[in-house]
């Protein structure tokens, strides 16, 4: 099989999936009153449990809901919310919407890329950070804007990036 055909091969960062995660998902699916039209809901829950949606989990869901694997994968790859790659503990979203862009959002993005040594969309080797860009989170008054997990940082300057990152790095040391 030509290797290049595998557009999305297995990820290097992938680790064995704990059995308990499957059991938790199974319990959730069993608790649903019907399986009709539940795919997106189940995918959401699965991503909460596993942190991402690896191939085996997608096929597991397909079997349980009686859907074709291709259909499930089609939905997973359609919505940007779903991810097939493991994400870092902290997901850093840099806004590159119009207002943030004008206020230097792209320079901010570059700074994060340099400091974390990853490209946008990727996860650091220690699986601590995933760097992403978003198009407007609806808080343009705070441009340029960075969201790390649920915490919002407004009017961020590139020179503040190191400080922000160290908050999360510190957490590990503590």
């Amino acid at each position: 099989m030509p290797e290049e055909l595998r557009v999305k091969g297995k990820n290097n960062n992938e680790k064995p999936i704990p059995k308990e995660h499957y059991e938790e998902l199974e319990r959730y699916i069993d608790s649903l009153p019907s399986l009709e039209g539940r795919l997106i809901q189940v995918l959401h829950r699965a991503q909460d449990i596993f942190g991402y949606l690896p191939r085996d989990v997608q096929l597991f869901i397909a079997r349980r809901l009686g859907l074709a694997g291709a259909k499930v994968n089609g939905v997973v790859t359609f919505y940007t919310y779903f991810t097939e790659e493991p994400r870092g503990e902290y997901v850093i979203n840099i806004c590159t919407g119009t207002a943030c862009f004008v206020k230097g959002g792209n320079k901010l993005l570059e700074e994060f890329e340099n400091k974390l040594k990853v490209s946008v969309g990727d996860t650091t080797e220690d699986r601590k950070f995933t760097l992403k860009d978003v198009r407007c989170v609806g808080a343009c008054g705070l441009a340029p804007l960075v969201v790390i997990n649920d915490k919002v940082y407004g009017r961020v300057k590139p020179e503040e990036v190191e400080g922000i990152l160290s908050e999360y790095r510190q957490e590990v040391l503590q």
């Binding site: 557009v7 291709a70 994968n73």
Partner: protein, 582 residues
């Protein structure tokens, strides 16, 4: 009474049923609106109405935007213009935009002059590639033995997806990703060979471009034909003779059996044979196996096993039921086996030097021929499979004027066949052929009226009872894998009370196979092929497989008793195995 509405299209008023789309109404009014992604196969109840190509845009009064005719329902008093400058330009632009991300290698494309996008570009007078920009470039998926997927040529009409999911319920193909990155492919964009695809080829049959095609073997056949030490025999399936003529401008349903034999001889095949001989042998085995199962409390219902896509479907999708189908090899594989044993012995030819080429209406037979268990001492029962379309290409390449060929006969001894074998090409045919023989074997009486009309038709699932002088045989028939799935689920749940079931993967049976001349959405063509099959059956002097003199001789001289004979059993039967499902 059906509710109707009045609509006006280009100043012409028509009254049409309320559930019509603008496109349906335009057809009624005799006005042509170009379409591309749209496909409506009435008999199969397949409608692809994704409205993704925007080629059918029309103006609707009081609507600011143009509307896609294929997906916009009519309402009373609607005023539609298909011929305004704005509509004409919008339709042309839709094609120009498709072409901006489509290879322009039409001259060397497999679908050259058979491509619906190309035809549309001409029809809409596209004269330049107006928009240039980023183009997608993907890798060609040549992983499978039967189907090639060329994503670069995909226009995302999603007809293949509809055929694969709704008609065949295989669920192999789906749209993946979004926006400019959208592709159509298997889960995780796996290579086709790593999926549970049955290679039924219905995606190929409905693809408007060369995004999905069969794996081409014409060059291999030419090479073998010109090797001096090879003895190349060819066999043609029943469904070829009622379809090949279409490729040479003949009316659908024209029977070209005689010209077909003549054409193959002109191409240089050493012997020109008929898969119908293999079909007659199949009936000898299958009818006997059915009687064996009936008399000995064997697994019932017995399912036919002539269709390799169907066999692959049960292996992947119903792995717990692989003991249900008959163990018979498919007719062309039986033929290949007999050619490389009985015929080779008779003619004093080393079977290793014999090359068996099958001309099939089918894409999946290419994958079937490559199954390792269908070989003797590493010598495949069948070496090369080409489709009806590929044969048409080869005849044109060879400069054979098909129209002017005389009618010739097949060679013997493997060229004799009966009407029972002919009807293998249509849904309902295999089981009717089996009944003609089983009737006589079970009752010991002569069957006067050979037509079992209750088994015929185009309905997706059919049931009938055949009365064998007191013993009632309940027959089920399904064509299209979605219908097959329903049958299998009924069997699994104990709801089905059939004795015998015939299943063909392609809608209509082999006449509607994935390797047949393209029908371009006109399912009348498949019906005409079916009528021709029954006409050919009636024309035959012998219409029961067990009366084929050459088949009788084969059993007497070589195979022994059907099904029970040691050689018959070893050579003509196979086994199926449960496979993983992706």
């Amino acid at each position: 009474m059906k509710e109707t509405v009045k609509v006006t299209i280009n100043d012409k008023e028509v009254e049409v049923p309320r559930e019509y789309t603008i496109l349906n109404a335009a057809v009624e009014a005799g006005i042509k609106i170009p379409t591309l992604c749209h496909l409506d196969l009435h008999d199969l109840k397949m409608v692809n109405r994704t409205a993704s190509c925007r080629v059918c845009m029309v103006e609707v009064e009081q609507r600011p935007n143009l509307a896609p005719a294929c997906a916009t329902p009519v309402n009373d008093g609607m005023v539609i213009r298909t011929d305004s400058l704005r509509a004409i330009r919008a339709r042309r632009m839709a094609v120009e935009l498709l072409l901006s991300n489509h290879p322009t290698d039409c001259l060397i494309c497999q679908r050259n002059l058979r491509c619906e996008l190309q035809a549309l570009a001409k029809e809409l007078n596209v004269r330049e590639i107006k928009y240039t920009g980023k183009r997608n470039k993907y890798h060609l998926d040549t992983s499978s033995q039967a189907v090639i997927k060329n994503q670069d040529k995909c226009i995302l009409c999603r007809r293949c997806e509809t055929a694969c999911n709704e008609i065949q319920t295989c669920g192999i193909l789906s749209a993946l990703n979004r926006g400019f990155d959208t592709i159509v492919g298997p889960a995780f964009n796996l290579p086709m060979a790593e999926t549970s695809c049955t290679y039924c080829g219905q995606c190929v049959a409905v693809c408007p471009t060369a995004a999905l095609t069969e794996v081409f073997h014409t060059h291999k056949v030419w090479e073998e034909l010109h090797k001096p030490d090879k003895y190349v025999v060819v066999q043609v399936a029943p469904a070829i003779r009622v379809a090949l003529g279409e490729l040479f401008g003949m009316e659908p349903g024209t029977i070209v059996t005689g010209k077909l034999a003549a054409a193959l001889r002109r191409m240089g095949f050493d012997q020109v044979y008929d898969t119908e001989f293999g079909a007659d042998v199949t009936i000898m085995e299958e009818a006997k196996e059915l009687i064996h199962r009936l008399e000995n409390g064997g697994r019932l219902p017995m399912l036919t096993s002539c269709c390799p896509a169907w066999v692959s479907f049960i292996e992947h999708q119903f792995p717990d039921m692989v003991d249900v189908p008959s163990t018979c090899k498919s007719p062309h594989i039986m033929f290949g086996t007999i050619a490389k044993t009985y015929l080779a012995e008779k003619m004093g030819i080393d079977p290793k030097k014999m090359v068996v080429v099958s001309v099939m209406p089918c894409v999946t037979k290419k994958a079937e021929a490559a199954r390792t268990e269908l070989s003797i001492d590493d010598n495949d029962n069948v070496d090369i499979v080409i489709t009806t379309r590929e044969l048409g290409d080869m005849l044109k390449e060879a400069g054979i004027d098909f129209d002017k060929l005389p009618d010739e006969d097949f060679d013997h001894p493997l060229g004799e066949s009966t009407g029972a074998a002919t009807i293998f090409g249509t849904t309902g045919g295999v089981i009717e052929a089996a009944m003609r023989t089983a009737y006589e074997w079970i009752t010991g009486e002569t069957l006067e009226k050979v037509d079992f009309k209750q088994l015929r038709g185009m309905k997706g699932i059919r049931e009938a009872t055949v009365d064998l002088k007191g013993q009632e045989i309940k027959i089920g028939i399904a064509h299209g894998l979605g219908n097959a799935r329903q049958m299998l689920e009924d069997i699994r749940n104990g709801k089905s009370e059939f004795h015998a079931i015939e299943i063909m993967a392609c809608p209509g049976g082999c006449i509607g196979g994935g390797g047949q001349p393209y029908h371009y959405g006109n399912d009348e063509i498949v019906k005409k092929r079916q009528e021709a099959i029954y006409k050919e059956d009636e024309r035959k002097s012998i219409r029961k497989s067990h009366e084929n003199p050459e088949v009788i001789k084969l059993y007497e001289e070589y195979l022994g008793e059907p099904y029970y004979g040691e050689r018959a059993h070893n050579l003509l039967h196979t086994k199926f195995e449960a496979k993983e499902r992706i």
